[in-house]
């Protein structure tokens, strides 16, 4: 079987509806966002669930893009990420994967662990506290974005870290709605 056919079969088996792999830009995020909306409108799901999927997709992609564009490594290697949106066990699943520097991986996983320890009220008050704080343009990290994702995904966030080499990890983040 041709490898592309295999890939397609794998995607179908895992319920993946949309996948993007490669360097991406704001305009790609917007265009895929449009496709996500069109797809969800056809499925006739509740409007607020649709908006949650769209919102989590946007936050996740912009987080990854902001992170990658600030690392300052050659674009052809480090601008690249993979993203999938699919359906599994009645939930929408949004997953992203990208390279992270080991020191940054520790920061983001600690932050996700903190967020995952909170209930709805805790998430809400952390969100309100963080969003008020000045957020200088160029700040690294995904402070408020991850809290917003957690609120919309009822805290069903999870991550996997794959070791690449001494400097980099491959960081995979999944949100379920």
């Amino acid at each position: 079987m041709h490898e592309l056919a295999q890939l397609k079969e794998q995607f179908n088996k895992n319920g993946i509806m949309i996948c993007f792999n490669g360097p991406f830009s704001q305009s790609i995020i917007e265009e895929i966002g449009k496709a996500v909306k069109t797809h969800l409108e056809r499925e006739k799901i509740r409007k607020d669930a649709m908006l949650d999927v769209f919102a989590v997709y946007i936050e996740q992609m912009q987080n990854v893009k902001n992170y990658l564009s600030r690392t300052g490594y050659p674009a052809e290697v480090h601008d690249s990420a993979i993203m999938t949106i699919g359906r599994r066990d009645g939930r929408y699943v949004i997953t992203s994967g990208n390279l992270t520097e080991k020191s940054d991986t520790a920061g983001v996983t600690r932050w996700i662990d903190t967020i995952k320890g909170l209930d709805d009220e805790g998430l809400k008050s952390l969100y309100k506290e963080r969003i008020r704080k000045s957020h200088p343009p160029g700040a690294r990290g995904a402070g408020v974005g991850l809290i917003d994702m957690a609120r919309r995904a009822s805290n069903r966030l999870s991550y996997v870290v794959e070791h690449i080499d001494d400097v980099f990890d491959f960081f995979i983040l999944t949100a379920e709605i």
Partner: protein, 125 residues
């Protein structure tokens, strides 16, 4: 007064001030590549012009805002609040989609501690 008239795009809202009606309108979706850059012209317009206006009505009808846009809108509401405290007549009509359960909660969060007329108005459905 400098003109303020930005058309909506896929990821940025329409922003428009109409001098004859005295209404500042923000409507659409907001998830620009850089929210701080995108909202900077509106913030500087407000800082330059608010004091010369007798009154201002702000109509906000945003169907989606990413987190950095929310931060920018909160900064804008702070500017409006300060100006109202100095005697400007400022009111806000905040429209939300009644089919979106999260939108009402968000509207209420925006209206907290604002100390100026903040009308939450459902649309659609």
């Amino acid at each position: 007064m400098e003109k303020l008239d930005l058309a909506a795009t896929l990821s940025t809202p329409k922003i428009c001030y109409c001098a004859s009606s005295g209404i500042l309108e923000l409507s659409g979706e907001s998830y620009p590549e850089n929210s701080f850059e995108f909202y900077a012209p509106l913030i500087s317009w407000l800082r330059q012009n608010l004091e010369t206006l007798q009154s201002l009505q702000v109509n906000v009808n945003m169907t989606y805002m990413n987190s950095s846009s929310v931060k920018c809108i909160l900064d804008i509401l702070d500017i409006l609040k300060e100006s109202a405290a100095r005697g400007r007549r400022i009111s806000i009509n905040w429209f939300y989609d009644r089919e979106n359960s999260r939108a009402l909660e968000l509207a209420e969060e925006f209206g907290e501690n604002l100390e100026l007329p903040f009308n939450i108005i459902p649309t659609g459905g």
